[in-house]
Amino acid sequence: MNQTNKFEIQLSSISNIEIISLNGYLDAHTAPQLEKIIQDLMQNNKYKIIVDMKNLDYISSAGLGVFMAFIEEIRDNGGDIKLAELKPKVYKVFDLLGFPILFKILPTIDEAVKQFEPN
């Protein structure tokens, strides 16, 4: 049997955009860690967020729920949460509930950054 699945979060930024990089398993046990990171960013008036999911192996409804909880407040403040580099198996979970209509999902971080640039 596997050990408890790991989960790690790394923060970085490109100009005024915050990049949250997720690694491992985002489920009911680990989702509060992501929730805290997003809350901290919002408290510091950082509302332009890209979530880098290239190393995310698993997401459950608790992970989806974190994005649902904050997205509207973030957009009300002129920002957004854009999701980038999802593995196909992670994308399929987002797709189950129609999330691609609600969230901008981009193939690369660069394309997600461009979405924040003024036209």
């Binding site: 049997m1 596997n2 050990q3 408890t4 699945n5 398993y25 489920d27 009911a28 046990h29 929730e35 698993y58 459950s60 409804s61 608790a62 989806l64 729920g65 974190v66 649902m68 909880a69 904050f70 997205i71 509207e72 407040e73 198996k89 399929k92 979970v93 189950l96 509930l97 129609g98 999330f99 209509i101 609600l102």
Partner: protein
Amino acid sequence: MIIKIKYNAIICKGCRIDELSKIRTFIIKQAIQYGFTDDEAQFIALATEEACTNIIKYSYKFDQTKDIEIVTYKLNEFFVVEINDEGKPFDPNQIDKIDINKIFRERKRGGLGIPIIKKIMDEIEYLPAESNKKKNSLLLKKLIPSN
């Protein structure tokens, strides 16, 4: 938490959310044996995890003296994941179809588990505990691939 695995059954004594990955691994192995692809097996494991998370959070309220027992088997054309618990009965079939835009507007972070289970599984049957049956049983059914 103590996990006991016996062929097609897993008993989780004092089940904790941080160890549900063990149930996930068990279900994936079982589903693959019945001919599901890796992706399908992972989805069935996700549905099982969502059901167990709901039991631990809402029915047991994190009470670690309670157990969850999961049995997998074939019933007619279905692969069945039977989840037995000793909490307050709750039939997920009572939950209406999800309105994702409503959850979005209301800034809710919960309520997505049952919609995920319903999207993944083909049939859901719920048998609440009765006088001659101590545990609630949730049967998550998925049609077994024909080839």
